[in-house]
């Protein structure tokens, strides 16, 4: 066997041997070589000292509340994300609401003026009451269409380009 100290690659064999990670056939070969090579014996001895010293360095136990802390941090993260999402939804809804409000005002202003007739308070009141629900329903329908249109367009704006 060539002396493992001759090349850096071969020195890994000595490191592996010291950490008992060398396969059996290689171990036998190396042990035969160690009988006759003082330099390699010294290397192995030094490496074993390091290995044992590191073995003695124990890390402290993980505290019992570690998992709870992890879940708490995950919880914070989730609630933060939910808050952000909530805010983003509000911001997204603002332009839709504004447009809907403008449309509603527009519809109400565009409404044809009632014919000028002699004042008949009871009938007029009845007409106004009869018209308002239709307009409101129409306005609400338009708001809903706008909302759907907005939802369709905003998230898929990148797709629509394709």
């Amino acid at each position: 066997m060539r002396c493992p100290l001759e090349t850096r690659e071969d020195r890994e064999i000595l490191v592996a041997y010291s950490s008992r990670a060398l396969h059996a056939p290689d171990t036998e070969l190396l042990e035969a070589h160690l009988q006759s090579c003082a330099a390699c014996r010294e290397f192995v001895r030094g490496q074993q000292v390091v290995w044992e010293a590191l073995d003695g360095w124990q890390a402290p136990a993980v505290p019992a509340d570690f998992d709870r802390s992890v879940y708490a941090r995950i919880g914070e993260q989730v609630s933060w994300w939910q808050r952000m999402r909530g805010r983003m939804l509000v911001y997204r809804a603002l332009p839709v609401t504004a447009v809907a409000a403008l449309l509603l005002v527009g519809v109400l202003l565009e409404r044809p003026a009632p014919p000028r007739v002699a004042p008949q308070p009871a009938t007029t009141t009845a007409q106004v009451e009869g018209l308002q629900p239709d307009q409101v329903v129409r306005a609400l329908d338009e708001m809903e269409v706008l909302d759907q249109f907005n939802r369709l367009i905003k998230p898929d704006s990148s797709e629509s380009k394709m």
Partner: protein, 193 residues
């Protein structure tokens, strides 16, 4: 280690279940890996409180990344890559700097060396404590990447290929890192023989 090997990794399977919304699988991963991660980080930064905080961050990132997780490598490779990245950043930020100077003062924070004699004398305890401090200092004096490589090799028994993936370098670079690290440690700890 390709995708096929990773597919057999049970931890990766658990992580895929976490991706599908199975919270119990995350608990299983946390239980299995909390100690290795905390211990690795403790030996990297050598301060328990910082190590715990970083380990929490590791698992938080694992959880946060569940949606985009793909088992392209062993789960532990991914896990230790996150842990190493955070540790190296923490060391770079100097978060641990002020505490390095107090290693001697913080003996109570450090566990004692494992001893065969259950009731060592005061003198023996002091000698062992001094040896432990020396080991810690020797490891702390290693360059960050060498330290990470030694800790993964020694305490996690990771193979060169896996360490290379964690550190995002070649296998030969890992061998070189380890060789230089052990050479330094041999020189510093030779008198302990």
């Amino acid at each position: 280690m390709g995708g096929a090997t990773a597919a057999l990794d049970y931890d990766a399977e658990l992580m895929l279940r976490v991706k599908d919304g199975d919270e119990a699988s995350f608990t299983a991963l946390l239980e299995k890996h909390r100690s290795p991660v905390v211990h690795f980080l403790y030996r990297m930064v050598q301060q328990q409180a910082v190590a715990e905080e970083l380990a929490q961050e590791v698992f938080l990132r694992v959880y946060r990344s569940r949606g985009s997780y793909e088992p392209t490598a062993k789960f532990t490779t991914w896990l230790f890559r996150i842990a190493t990245h955070l540790a190296l950043n923490a060391l770079r930020d100097g978060r641990n700097e002020r505490n390095q100077d107090r290693l001697d003062e913080r003996a109570e924070d450090m566990p004692a060396l494992q001893v065969e004699d259950r009731r060592p004398s005061v003198e023996q305890s002091m000698v062992r404590q001094a040896m432990l401090d020396e080991v810690r200092r020797a490891v702390a004096a290693l360059p960050d990447k060498q330290r990470a490589a030694v800790l993964m090799h020694k305490y996690r028994e990771m193979e060169y290929t896996q360490i290379a993936k964690v550190l995002n370098c070649s296998e030969s670079a890992v061998k070189s890192l380890l060789f230089r690290a052990y050479e330094t440690l041999r020189a510093r700890l030779a008198h302990m023989a």
